[in-house]
Structures are given as C-alpha cells and as structure tokens.
C-alpha cells in the first residue's frame, strides 16, 4: 500500500475532496499545517510597525491506497489542486507496511 501525502492550498480542499470522491476514494485524513517554501509569506502591521509572517497556511491530505490506485489518485490531485501559481504544494508518496481497521481488525486493502 502507498500513502499519498499532499500539501495544498486550503481553499482548494473542497475541489480536491470532490475529485477524490468522484474516483471512489472513500477515506482520507486532513490536517492544518503551515508551509514554508518558495511562496513568500505576507507582511502584517502592528501599530505602525511591519513584520513578516513567513509561514503560509496549508492543508495536508493523507490518503492510503492500494499500490495500483496511487497513480490515479496522484493524477486526481494534480488535476484538482493546481492553480498554476507558486505555492500549489507537493505530493509525497511513501510505502505503508500494513493497514488495520480498528472497528473490525481487518488488515491490508480490506482495511482501507
């Protein structure tokens, strides 16, 4: 099994979720993160002083899928998360040794 981690722009979450649902991905886990990268942060003001916030809000999506589904998921992510502007984010793929569904104890693909 593969774990696909995507760091995306927060306002794209809805589109991404819909794209994944459309291809019958039934599970994912999402968290709020702060990103640091080529996309610059922004300046904020505090009583006439300016300071730079260099972390940018991002959303991380984690999806564990059987190996054969990895490429389609990546394609769906690329299709739905892209705006073409700096900061669109990354996809990282790694290997998962085992998955277990807590409710039933099922293992492997059955657990997803």
């Amino acid at each position: 099994m593969k774990k696909i981690e995507a760091i995306i722009k927060p306002f794209k979450l809805d589109d991404v979720k819909r794209a994944l649902q459309d291809m019958n991905i039934e599970g994912m886990t999402v968290s709020e993160v702060k990103g640091f990268g080529r996309q610059k942060g922004h300046a904020e003001l505090y009583r006439g002083a300016e300071y730079i916030v260099d972390f940018v809000p991002k959303v991380k999506i984690e999806i564990v899928v059987p190996e054969e589904n990895a490429q389609p998921v990546v394609d769906a992510l690329l299709g739905s998360a892209r705006t073409g502007k700096i900061g669109d984010g990354k996809i990282f793929i790694s290997t998962i040794d085992e998955a277990i569904r807590i409710r039933t104890g099922e293992r492997g693909k059955e657990a997803l």
Binding site: E44, L45, Y46, R47, G48, A49, E50, Y51, I52, V53
Partner: protein
C-alpha cells in the same frame, strides 16, 4: 472639575431656598447620573483587561487580564480603607488629605454638592482603580504576580492618592488654577510616565524586538476599546458631577475627539504603511479619549476634533517611530498613548478651553503655562516615586519571572491556568 465642585458647593451655600434644599441638597437626576457614571467607569477596567489581553501572546492572556482584574479588587478595598482619605480628606498643606476618612468614617448619605457623599467617593474610587491598571501594559508578559500586588498597593498610595489630592482634593495644583476636567494629569500622565519608568527598570521581554509579538486576539482588543469608549462617557461627562449642560458638553467632546483621533491614526497608518488597521483605529480611539479627558467640559466640538486629530498624530509618532528608536519595551504602549496623549491633552486644554474657562486661543495666554506646570509636577512625582517603588518591590519579591517562566507564559507559570482549550 474642581471648579465645578466649587461652583456646586457655592450654589448650595447661596441658594438655601432652591429646589435642592427641599430634598436636603441631593438632586436625584444628578445622583442617577453619577451612579450610572460610576458603573460605567468601573466597566472600563475589565474593558482594559480585554484591550490589553487581546494584544499579548496567547500564553499571557490570563496573566495580562488578571492584572486589571486584580487591581480592580485590590484598589476597591484600598480606596475604602485609606485611599479616599489620603486624596479627599481635609487638606494638609496642599500636599495630601488627612486621615479623617479612614475606613470611610464620616462618609455617608449626606450631600456632597448635589449627590450623596458616598456616590462621590465611589465615582472617584473608580478613577483610582483604572489609573493603576493602565500602568500594567508597560510590563505585560514578564512581571511576577507577587510584584504586581506590592507595586499596585504602593503606587496607589504613594503616587495616585496624593496627586489626586493636589489636583482635585484641595491641593496646590488645583489652587494654582490648573484645568483638568476629568483626569489628564492625575490619570493619564501619571500612569503613562510611570509606565515608561517601569518598562525601563524591568527591561525588555525576551526576544524583543527581534521576534514579532503579534496580538493573539484582536477581537478582545476591539471589545476592550468599545467598553473603554462606552465607559469613558461616565469618566468625562460624569466628571461634571451633574446631569446638566456641562455634562452634555463633555459627552460630545469625548465622542468627537475619540472618533477624530481614530480616523487620523487610521489615515496616517494607511499613508505611512499602505493599510488602514483595526488595531490602529482602536489605538487612535484610546489616544483620543486620553487627550480629551482634561479638556472635555471646557471645549466645543470643533476644538474636540483638533484635539483628537493631534492625539492621533502625536501618539502614532510616539508609538511607531519614537519607541523603536529609543529601544525601550513598553509592551502595550502605555507611555506612547497615555503619557503622550495625556501631555498633549493637558497643553491643548490650555490652548482650546472656551467653555467656563479660557485658553490661549480664547485670549488667556497664561493658562498654557499653568498647564505645563501641572504636567511637569506630575512627571516629576511619577518618575521619582515609581522608581523608588519598583526598587522596593524588587527587594521584597523580585520583579521579573524567570526566563523559563517567561517562555512558558504567565498563564501557566503564575496562575496555573490556560486561556483557551479550543
């Protein structure tokens, strides 16, 4: 205000057959207004807790709010036990009040002017409370709580009570003819200057100014601003000590100057930094409230706009240009807003006074000089006494939390609580 008290007392003496006499000198309209004003001024201190609490980092929100809240409790009791007596007891040499009113002995329902003496006492008490609380912005995010306790008690007793006596209690500064309608010198210059001294003695926050320390909850700060603005109607218009035309003058001046100062701060920051900010609006509003305080019952609406506008400009410069140059860490800009705004207001009163007193622009050049004497006297008292009080406090408990406690935050280290469990 002193002038008004005199006028009211005179009126009382000279008109024994007037309507007042029919009810033993108490006017119920005036009493209703002063009771309400007292409640309004009381609300300013929790308002300050939110104004300040929103500006610090999350880990210090409770520690910061606790300063204001605790002072509300502490000085409420101090005032009743001995503070009122030091400020308004029978004059001793123009310097301080006598101890006749200890524990409010002899302070009862009898009229003081046209309101019950107890109502006057309580109204004044709320001023003492907020003055001490204002200072806490200077050392937010690093003071030991035990130091706050000792500092507050000493400062109220040694600085506020005598100063209040000087100006309003029959002391030398009032006798000199200094105009201070609702507390420009007594409340704002004294707290602002003491704040600067405290910021310098206690030293900067760890990481300042390298690390940005952005406000953690500007909603709280706006809430505080709203409660301060609302309560300040009691502070300024209530200082007329009557529900009359002068109260209306002060009310209008207060609202107008505040609005003008906020607008000006917003526009100046917009021009200077490219964006108009809410915190700027809130800061400007407070600067305007401060500056109009000594002038409120003495000026018309157009003068109020000018006084407010001046406050917006001067306080903006003090906070955003002067402070970083000088390098002190007055965390929440008590000096930049209350000190600078208060001094401008005191001088401006000498310039613009036109209702019941005359300032420079209305033909009375000497008033400005008197105002400046008032400012200087306050600065000297506040500076020297605050320095000494801090040294004493340092000896007794130490002033600062440890570095570890500062990193952890005051909420956990001083109070064992967290502001949010969201």
């Amino acid at each position: 205000m002193k002038i008004r008290i005199l006028a009211l007392l005179l009126g009382f003496v000279l008109l024994p057959l007037s309507a007042y006499a029919e009810e033993g000198g108490i006017d119920k309209g005036d009493t209703a207004w002063i009771l309400v004003s007292t409640a309004l001024v009381m609300l300013m201190t929790p308002g300050l807790a939110f104004f300040y609490g929103g500006m610090v980092r999350r880990k210090n929100v409770l520690g910061t709010m606790m300063h204001s809240f605790f002072i509300l409790c502490l000085i409420s009791v101090q005032w009743v036990l001995w503070g009122y007596s030091l400020a308004f007891g029978p004059d001793i040499g123009g310097i301080v009040g006598g101890l006749d009113y200890l524990g409010l002995n002899g302070v009862g329902q009898e009229p003081n002017g046209t309101i019950p003496h107890l109502a006057f006492m309580m109204f004044q008490g709320m001023f003492a409370i907020i003055t001490v609380a204002l200072i806490t912005g200077a050392f937010a995010e690093r003071l030991k709580f035990s130091a706050l306790l000792i500092f507050s008690l000493l400062w109220a007793t040694i600085v506020y009570d005598p100063l209040c006596h000087w100006v309003w209690g029959g002391g030398w500064l009032g006798d000199l003819g200094a105009l201070d309608f609702a507390g420009g010198t007594v409340v704002h210059i004294s707290s602002g200057v003491s704040a600067l001294v405290a910021a310098m003695v206690i030293g900067r926050r760890r990481g300042y100014p390298r690390e940005p320390m952005p406000p953690h909850n500007l909603g709280y700060t706006l809430l505080g601003t709203a409660l301060l603005w609302f309560g300040w109607f009691g502070f300024n218009a209530g200082s007329a000590l009557a529900a009359d035309g002068i109260a209306a003058v002060a009310f209008v001046a207060t609202n107008t100057a505040t609005a003008a100062a906020a607008l000006v701060w917003i526009f100046v920051e917009w021009a200077h930094r490219g964006k108009p900010t809410l915190l700027g609006g809130a800061s400007g509003a407070v600067a305007g409230l401060v500056a109009i305080t000594p002038a409120a019952g003495f000026v018309g609406p157009v003068s109020s706009i000018l006084i407010g506008a001046g406050a917006g400009v001067f306080c903006y410069i003090a906070v955003s240009i002067l402070k970083p140059r000088l390098g002190y860490d007055d965390s929440l800009d008590v000096f930049g807003i209350h000190g600078v705004g208060g001094m401008w207001g005191a001088v401006a009163t000498g310039l613009f006074a036109s209702v019941g007193a005359q300032g420079l622009f209305f033909g009375n050049a000497s008033q400005v000089g008197i105002q400046i004497v008032g400012v200087l006297a306050t600065v000297v008292l506040a500076t020297v006494a605050t320095f000494v009080i801090l040294k004493i406090t340092d000896l007794i408990t130490g002033l600062r939390v440890t570095e570890e406690e500062e990193v952890e935050g005051l909420d956990l280290s001083q109070h064992g609580e967290s502001g949010y469990n969201l």
